[in-house]
């Protein structure tokens, strides 16, 4: 039972992450490889604040602010100056720089040893320590995310972000500032990635730099790509496929040294099939340009 709950919590964390990338990549058209930066910053800031005895909600809010003000602004600046593949490369560099920083800033992040003993969230004097009670919190945040994006999908703002993706020059010559819409999509992306980072840190209660590498960014991107971007079903499906499928492999009784490799082969196979037969993703309506 605990095993199921554990998988479910992970699935929910990744659903939030996939949604957070979806707003930037699917709606905003910015093909980025640095989602683990937002995720990691969220996790680290929350972890440090929680260890210093702050409230979970307060830590989350501070993490969101720090994340938007530092990482969000950097990525926004990149998005303002660079297009398509060049933007992707710049975000890749940003991801690597971030990994270098958290790996080497030993005073703050404890370097490769990671931060241990992160307390479970306490909200209104109730400690969410058991897996089931943690499931409550993560379900709350997932529902919040899904409901938010369900309504966001219909708004003027989201259409405007899509319009900016389709033709920036035309948006500009119709008298609107495309950079404003880019910033909104990046900021929303950062906010939701921070939430999932905070959930991750307080659920696992141990974080180290190896959880926030380029592989993580690529994994999130692949989820969005497989599910299909620019709508609300895609990220859920993508995350579900990528989290649940490897768990079924457990029952096939592969030897341990083969299991991990087989998992990567399976991931690659799914990705290749999707690219060959439905390049816009399972539910997607829009193909990536770069």
């Amino acid at each position: 039972m605990n095993y199921l709950i554990h998988i479910l919590i992970f699935l929910q964390i990744y659903i939030i992450l996939a949604f957070s990338l979806n707003i930037k990549t699917g709606y905003g058209g910015m093909f980025s490889l640095c989602q683990a930066v937002f995720y990691g910053t969220g996790a680290y800031v929350t972890a440090i604040l929680l260890l210093n005895g702050f409230n979970f909600i307060f830590a989350l809010v501070i993490a969101i602010l720090i994340n938007v003000l530092f990482n969000g602004i950097v990525v926004f600046y990149l998005a303002k100056r660079l297009r398509e593949l060049y933007f992707t490369l710049a975000t890749l560099a940003f991801q690597i720089i971030f990994y270098g920083i958290i790996y080497n800033w030993i005073k703050l992040t404890n370097g490769p040893y990671g931060i241990t003993g992160i307390p479970k969230p306490i909200i209104c004097n109730i400690e969410f320590s058991s897996p089931i009670s943690f499931l409550l919190i993560s379900t709350f945040f997932v529902l919040l995310t899904i409901i938010f994006f369900y309504f966001f999908h219909k708004t003027y703002l989201s259409k405007m972000i899509e319009a900016t993706r389709d033709d920036e020059i035309w948006v500009n010559s119709l008298g609107k500032n495309p950079n404003r819409y880019k910033f909104v999509s990046i900021a929303l992306s950062v906010i939701f990635a921070t939430i999932s980072g905070a959930l991750y840190a307080s659920y696992i209660s141990y974080i180290d730099p190896s959880s926030f590498t380029i592989n993580e960014s690529i994994l999130i991107l692949t989820m969005v790509l497989i599910g299909g971007s620019g709508n609300i079903y895609g990220p859920i499906t993508g995350a579900a496929i990528y989290i649940l499928l490897p768990e079924f492999l457990r029952f096939l009784n592969f030897p341990d040294h083969l299991a991990a490799n087989f998992q990567m082969i399976l991931y690659a196979l799914i990705l290749l099939l999707i690219i060959r037969f439905k390049p816009s993703g399972l539910f997607g309506k829009f193909e990536f340009k770069s």
Binding site: K159, A163, R165, D166, I169, W170, L174, G175, N177
Partner: protein, 259 residues
């Protein structure tokens, strides 16, 4: 008749090449002006200078436009009137004054439907917009209804109404041009620059486009058209000039007298 756009001594050079050479030029309100010339005569550069995508060497452009129909939710205090020279303004500010530009390759929002394209191209919500959004819900809602009524009316005029729920990329090349022009009309442009609007579309569509241009001219929109062919311009324009190696020949005039 008042002047919509006044240009004095406009020039632009790229290193040694002079693209636009000391152009003096004016466009009157509610007229159609045509410029024809061969490739490389500097027509597109001239357009880029007027619409603000490139900066001129000498700064002398005066836009005399003010957009008259404001969106309903614009707080009156926030309307700026630009009386200064237009060459200091950005592309966006020129658009707010009522200058619209149709690109040679039709630009539309491919993944949005036709009606969404129109709704997205309406004049932006101006200053204080967040406050208006938060506290004047009914005003915003009324504005939205008015906008959608206007969009439907425009689509019927452009005979695109039957395709209003199609994605824009499904339209043909000519229809996309029409949609682009329709967006500019939604945007209340008072002076529209058309960059080779008749290139690459069939005769029926050309007729349709000419009728629409004449229709909107009667409604008070000024047009500036550049084309390769003199023939199409001849029966459409009030004034026709020739552009040759960066200079506009003011003596080449179709019907009316020079000014």
């Amino acid at each position: 008749m008042s002047v919509a756009l006044q240009i004095e001594d406009l020039s632009k050079h790229y290193d040694g090449i002079v693209a636009v050479d000391n152009v003096n030029f004016a466009i009157k309100l509610k007229t159609i002006t045509g410029i024809f010339g061969e490739n490389g005569a500097g027509k597109t550069t001239f357009f880029n200078l007027i619409s603000g995508y490139e900066m001129p060497d000498k700064k002398r452009i005066r836009l005399n436009l003010r957009f008259i129909e404001l969106p309903v939710y614009t707080p009156v205090s926030s309307i700026k009137i630009f009386d200064k020279n237009a060459d200091l303004l950005t592309v966006r500010e020129r658009c707010l004054l009522g200058l619209g530009r149709l690109f040679q390759k039709p630009r539309v929002f491919n993944e949005l439907t036709v009606i969404e394209n129109l709704l997205m191209s309406n004049k932006p919500i101006k200053k204080n917009s967040l406050l208006v959004f938060l506290f004047k819900y009914r005003v915003v809602k009324r504005a939205k209804i008015i906008n959608s009524i206007k969009a439907v009316k425009l689509l019927k005029e452009f005979s695109l109404y039957s395709k209003k729920d199609d994605k824009a990329f499904k339209l043909s090349f000519g229809e996309r041009k029409l949609l682009s022009l329709c967006c500019l009309m939604m945007n209340n442009s008072k002076l529209v620059l058309l960059d080779e609007p008749f290139a690459g579309i069939n005769t029926m569509m050309i007729k349709k486009l000419i009728n629409l241009i004449k229709h909107y001219k009667n409604k008070g929109v000024a047009f500036l058209i550049i084309e390769h062919k003199y023939n199409i311009l001849a029966d459409l324009c009030d004034y026709i000039y020739e552009m040759k190696s960066g200079k506009i020949n003011l003596s080449h005039i179709n019907r009316l007298t020079s000014y």
